[in-house]
Symmetry: D3
Subunit: 246 residues, 6 copies
């Protein structure tokens, strides 16, 4: 099967790191390719950036649909544009945020999330509430590291994340840690070793969930929330994004 | 005070109807002006349309900020882009969906919502959950009328909405009805007369809530979820939307 | 429009302070007058005092109805007797507790409440649960200042409240503060300046919400929970409070 | 032990019926006496009546405390004034509404409530929410019989209640029925026989819960919500109700 | 009436201690006898032990049914096997965990639980969620004392429990303490004296609740979740446990 | 990788059907083997049967651990013994009930469950509540077909299930159907074709989730709820099940 992973920000090194994690998690016969939009923010930190990440990401989803991919992964922990992507695509779509929450729920009674900046906490809490998994999450924490500092090997980002995991372990009653950013995908293994509890990266979890859906012949339901977008006119720079019904 | 009302879809007649409702609800010394984006969908029906309505709407928010408006109303019942607008603006921002829910909560124990198409029900239910008011809503119903049929005086839209209110009254145990689309603003009064219970239009409610915030000297908190967007590079057609921090 | 503000306790200086705050928040054409019961407790601190504040407050509501007021504000943060007042009145009724919660929800993702004594915390938590807004409240805190100490300029009340706001800011992840007593109405502005986040006084918020309801032609629904009281006999000292149906 | 049962309305025949049910449920060595206020409404139907039932009921609670009773039962299904009574009394206090919900939770996965008039539904739903037992209640239903019709042997009240139980059984997925009015205490046994499922009367349940508390040496906690009322001045007709701290 | 108390673990001294507490709480005419299984773990600490405690406990329930007992108490705080016992028995069944939660809800606004080991916290939290009473519980805490250390007068168990109650009082805002193990039944009185708030032992509460159900003529509903087990074949060592329908 | 699937009932034909579904869902390099206990009920219908299915199932889990399996699937929709199995095993464990709920959450906004008998509804509702996914489930329905009728090709079981799906589609607002019994694994595909919406079988979903966990190097956390059982003595027929700590 062929899986499309889209990084919704426009930072190329991010896309490469995500692609490596996705490859590593895929099964033998699964091919993965990663894309990124050519318009939008270089990183997503809060609701405002999300707005400008979504259109470019949907372009990539629609292009990949034409290649008959088996499924799409949205590789931003905020699950940016996930609902719209489910409407636009025929193949199933999984966000790495939801993937990590589902995986954590299968191996721990309670988990805590460690994300980048505290302004992302409400986005993540909203998602947990919508998915229904808020009761499984002990607490969403921020290590207060900017997203792009994860690309800089000299930054204190990893050290700060490790400290926050230590605090979560001692204060939250959590049994597993979810890493709250796609850019942390390469840290999961060593942090798990260091802290002696499962540390979950959403990229690998999402690849596995997509494979599960595909092997179970499951696709997004098209009879309700995720029905095909209705044909209508779009104007201005978005004229070509208008859905057609035929 | 000066209030900016933005209609997030690109249909001019919609904007005019909203402006009329906003004027009617404003107090003596309050001026209102309505805008619409020059890019995006002609109507918003589901998650996909929302993505392409948000950037153009934020343009209007940012332009209006430069005119020192006292506040902004987002005149789509889905409260499209509300969180991002709160980050982008210094003045307070109110969505007509949330406005209607808050107003209904003050005059009824339980309310039902009657919206356009059933594909909008999940969007509205998500919002009710996030705002915390889901327990006050008996049920979200769809009259199954396309948004733009509300602009056509010969369509059966009003009749269908009235029928759905009748069903809500007899089945939901609701005490008030919230109209789930900005395009229904002109129907609230006559439907209330017809059915003998309060029928709430979010446009007037939002104007009143904004006036309340302004007279109470309240603006969006800037210390958490709605902090000013962080300065960073945006690429492609969104290059000029990048926030600057200085 | 003419708005009636009732202070449910019998302390005259409290009523005057509330009236000043109400006037300041009203729009140009709105007249406000404040009353207080002639029977009941001098301050309301917990469930027991509430019982004896309600009958006298309802007397004032019923008297004001005869003056054709546009609406009523109940100026006790516990929203004492709010449901009964909604049954008794034709005009809409807003409590300052609920008003503050609704206002806070429009400008912050999460708010904390700072009230007087800890025995009032359960009353407030019950209300938050009933209104549906509990999920928006990070925590209800008590500054442990008796209500009437707010009337004494030499008391440490303001200092204690300010300290508790500081604790809330650092521990609760809240973005705004709701002041949990009508007697704190005059402190909101200076505390907001001091702490750099919105501080909400329910009296101004309630005036604004009432104006919103009136301009939107919305009154309490009379088909369910808030139907007119049924005609029946009352005995003893309450004989004259019996509702009549005709 | 000696148990005080207070009927918060002023209808004598109601008090007698309740006393009979209380006696029947008490254990061998337990004495029961029933009282009613000498001021207030002849029946309690909605929030407004509640306000005027509470002061007279608290008089009875305070008088009974002086007789060193082991506990108090508030025999109105709305649990009128329960929180205030817990502050006023040293002995434990149980409401018949909460008693019925707790009893039902011990013998059924889900129960439905059948009360008198639909205007009492919100009162009951609020209580279920506050007690935490809302998730155990399938639905609160009204038989639409006025409270005092239960005193009239020729009224269709029993027939209507039986019909509503039938509807609840077939539609709610409930396994037990809670009778939602003290005046239905004499119907529980025959309705249970008729419908083949447990039918719960709150009066007997409350007597049993009080005996349980007394035998377990449990009294209302006095360190928080139910602390002794603070000493302060009350004015007007309530001057003698003021609590004293000494 | 005759009440059967089953201790689901196989430690005889535990059974005797429970029987003493049960006798003390029973009313004059009530006889109590206590049993324990002859297979299974010597103490129950976590989900695994529960599995092997349940079959032997059900044997005792079924044997006691043949003696026409009026009801059964399951004397493990995890309410081990409660749902299955309700199916197996005709007489009502009460668990000591649920009993303690219900009792606490009648005398305090919020309670905290102090149990033995932290591995039991999820079991207890699950139960609180299922019973619906999670919102009444401030926090479930573990004193980190193994269950059987409660049988050793020289162990530091009582001291550790007392310390944890102190922490709960100062940090949780709780007004009562629930002791989270049947083996703590003898400590409730002295801990209550020591800490000045109600301390609840589930054994006495359960006896009282059973007496309440019996005097109210209430038995487990047999029309849904707790219907009689369906007749079918069981194999292996459980062959004789198969239910028969006739 | 090697996956162990345990059917907790003792019906061999059930085990074979489950094994076929598991094989079909597994990826190329994954081997699957299915077992069943040699003691316990021939089918699991309600809480009582569960008790006697768990010990035998845990035997199979412990035996499979010795073969160094990569993970275990518990193939009963009630997720019988899941928590205990997570304590007993080092490899991850997935129940087919939870698996189906997680899968459904990824492809539909709301799903309904169609199970065998209505006595299983509470078991399933409890699980949904504990997993956190109750808000995603529109309704749990029973087709009222006994579990073993699914093994009889001449029974009306499939027809009844299909009818109930039709009712769910028209009444629940659901977008996908979860089949609520392992014995329905072979029906998912044809029912999905027939009704035009995703129909989810938990066996395939569980295989996919286990592969996801294994490829992501995730195992059950051992620091809290699912810690290794404590060493202690077990008595009677369970003597050999006692955990040892060394």
């Amino acid at each position: 099967m062929l899986i499309h992973v889209v990084n919704p920000n426009t930072t190329e090194s991010f896309t490469r790191k995500i692609e490596v994690a996705a490859h590593a998690a895929a099964s033998h016969n699964t091919e993965v390719f990663a894309t990124q939009p050519d318009m939008g923010p270089v990183s997503i930190e809060g609701f405002y950036d999300e707005v400008f990440a979504m259109p470019g990401m949907l372009v990539r989803i629609i292009e990949a649909e034409k290649k008959n991919v088996s499924g799409h992964v949205i590789a931003c922990f905020d699950d940016t544009g996930l609902d719209a992507a489910r409407m636009a695509a025929t193949a199933p779509v999984v966000g790495i945020g939801e993937a990590a929450f589902h995986a954590a729920s299968l191996i721990a009674y309670k988990f805590s999330v460690v994300t980048t900046l505290s302004r992302s906490i409400p986005v993540i809490e909203h998602n947990l509430m919508r998915y229904g998994l808020a009761s499984r999450c002990a607490r969403v924490r921020a290590a207060e590291v900017p997203v792009l500092s994860l690309e800089d090997p000299n930054s204190p980002a990893r050290a700060r994340i490790s400290q926050e995991i230590e605090v979560a372990k001692s204060q939250d009653g959590c049994e597993a840690i979810v890493l709250g950013c796609a850019g942390m995908a390469d840290l999961a293994h060593s942090l798990s070793e260091e802290h002696g509890l499962p540390v979950i990266d959403g990229v690998s979890a999402a690849i596995g969930l997509l494979e599960m859906l595909v092997r179970s012949n499951l696709r997004t339901s098209k009879i309700g929330a995720y029905s095909k977008p209705l044909g209508k006119k779009y104007t201005g720079i978005f004229v070509s994004f208008a859905p057609h019904n035929n």
